[in-house]
């Protein structure tokens, strides 16, 4: 991309930024909880390690270890071993969350980049871990090439589709995310086992302001923005739905970016 961005491009970028902020705002409580759990664990474990050390120091204070004390030492070592393994999980959880947030925002990357789509999906799912607690998520990833795109924008589309799928399943269910490739394009399908979209609404779901969820702030623009982003990438978004058994949104994107302003 060379030269200043076209007005359309700027509008699009602004709309995406706003959508992203609205989504993140909505997710903040969940994200705080997702961080609080491993943080609380590490906090407790740190205390346990300190106690374990004190215990060992007190046993070794007289430089003699009796058979009873030896059993105690073994018990302390078993606890420390378990704590260290738990710490690994907690640290990994927090790292994945931060990695997810960074990838989602792509704060450290250029506007257009060649990216691994699966990385973007995994990041989005990491951020949404809290929202998806009662949902089974199946990843059916195909062998797809890296694609040239606006990663922030594409991540926003995936985020919206996954959140819609979640909201279609208030009582729980399964979200299946599949990817495949063909004709120099990459496809992503987000399918849920939720309530589905009534036939008289399916034509209108990409219209501005269309929502079935009441007047929540920022709602009703999600799918419109998704379609704009995808069309801006010279891609397509389609939907199939069976009321009562679920919906599936399929996004196709060209492997090479051919944005609205040319390239």
């Amino acid at each position: 991309m060379t030269g200043p961005a076209a007005p359309h491009e700027r509008q699009m970028a602004e709309a995406v930024t706003q959508a992203r902020l609205a989504t993140l705002g909505m997710l903040v409580a969940g994200l705080a909880h997702e961080i609080n759990t491993p943080l609380g664990t590490l906090n407790s474990n740190h205390d346990v390690l300190r106690r374990a050390l004190l215990r060992l120091q007190s046993i070794l204070a007289d430089e003699v270890v009796s058979p009873d004390e030896l059993d105690e030492v073994r018990r302390v070592i078993a606890a420390v071993d378990s704590i260290i393994r738990v710490n690994d999980i907690a640290v990994e959880r927090m790292t994945a969350l931060v990695r997810g947030l960074r990838n989602f925002g792509r704060i450290d990357r250029a506007d257009i980049d060649v990216v691994d789509l699966h990385e973007g999906i995994d990041s989005t799912l990491a951020i949404l871990a809290h929202e998806l607690r009662e949902i089974r998520v199946e990843r059916r990833y195909g062998d797809v090439p890296r694609i040239e795109c606006h990663p922030q924008q594409v991540n926003q589309v995936i985020m919206n589709l996954v959140l819609n799928a979640r909201q279609a399943m208030p009582g729980g269910g399964t979200i299946t995310i599949s990817t495949w490739t063909g004709d120099d394009r990459v496809f992503v399908r987000v399918a849920d086992t939720g309530v589905g979209i009534p036939a008289d609404c399916i034509e209108r779901i990409f219209e501005p302001g269309f929502t079935t969820r009441g007047g929540r702030v920022g709602m009703g623009l999600g799918l419109l923005i998704c379609r704009q982003i995808i069309e801006h990438h010279a891609g397509a978004i389609t939907v199939e739905s069976a009321p009562g058994s679920g919906s599936a949104f399929t996004v196709s994107l060209p492997v090479h970016y051919a944005g609205a302003t040319g390239h």
Partner: protein, 155 residues
């Protein structure tokens, strides 16, 4: 007799952390679960002094879990460990689950240890009270029987 603490948290890391702490610092038997349903099955089969449940768990929240546990074993002490401290849930927990303590995450190990120790004492006192009441009821029944036989003998 060794006292038993039953833990349920769908986050294995929290459950494991609590178990490691209790195993290092106390002599309690610790039963650890990540599924509330499995925890209820264990509660049916095992004597338990103190129950510690996470609030937000898939399938069954901690308050519902503790409420069911209360129906099964009313004398067991119930503690809710929660990352969501709000008034509405606290009230619901106290009313619905007969909660002994509402503990917020991140928790303090020393405080937790004291709460559990007090909870065990509380359960023991309730159990003793229950036994005494049963014994009194039994004695009362026997007394009534004796009285009836005395009446029969003298009247």
């Amino acid at each position: 007799m060794q006292n038993t603490v039953l833990l349920v948290d769908d986050e294995p890391m929290v459950a494991l952390s609590l178990r490691s702490f209790l195993e290092l610092e106390t002599s309690y038997r610790v039963l650890m679960f990540t599924s509330p349903l499995e925890a209820l099955e264990a509660l049916e089969a095992e004597p338990v002094d103190v129950l510690i449940a996470d609030f937000m768990m898939p399938g069954m929240d901690g308050i519902t879990f503790l409420g069911r546990a209360r129906e099964m074993k009313p004398l067991t002490t119930r503690i809710l460990l929660t990352g969501y401290a709000d008034k509405e849930n606290a009230i619901r927990a106290i009313n619905q689950a007969g909660l002994y303590y509402y503990l917020e995450k991140p928790w303090d190990n020393e405080q937790l240890k004291v709460i559990i120790r007090n909870g065990i004492e509380r359960s023991a006192l309730f159990n003793e009270l229950d036994m005494r009441v049963s014994a009194l009821e039994q004695a009362n029944v026997e007394l009534h029987g004796l009285r009836a036989r005395l009446m029969e003998a003298f009247l």
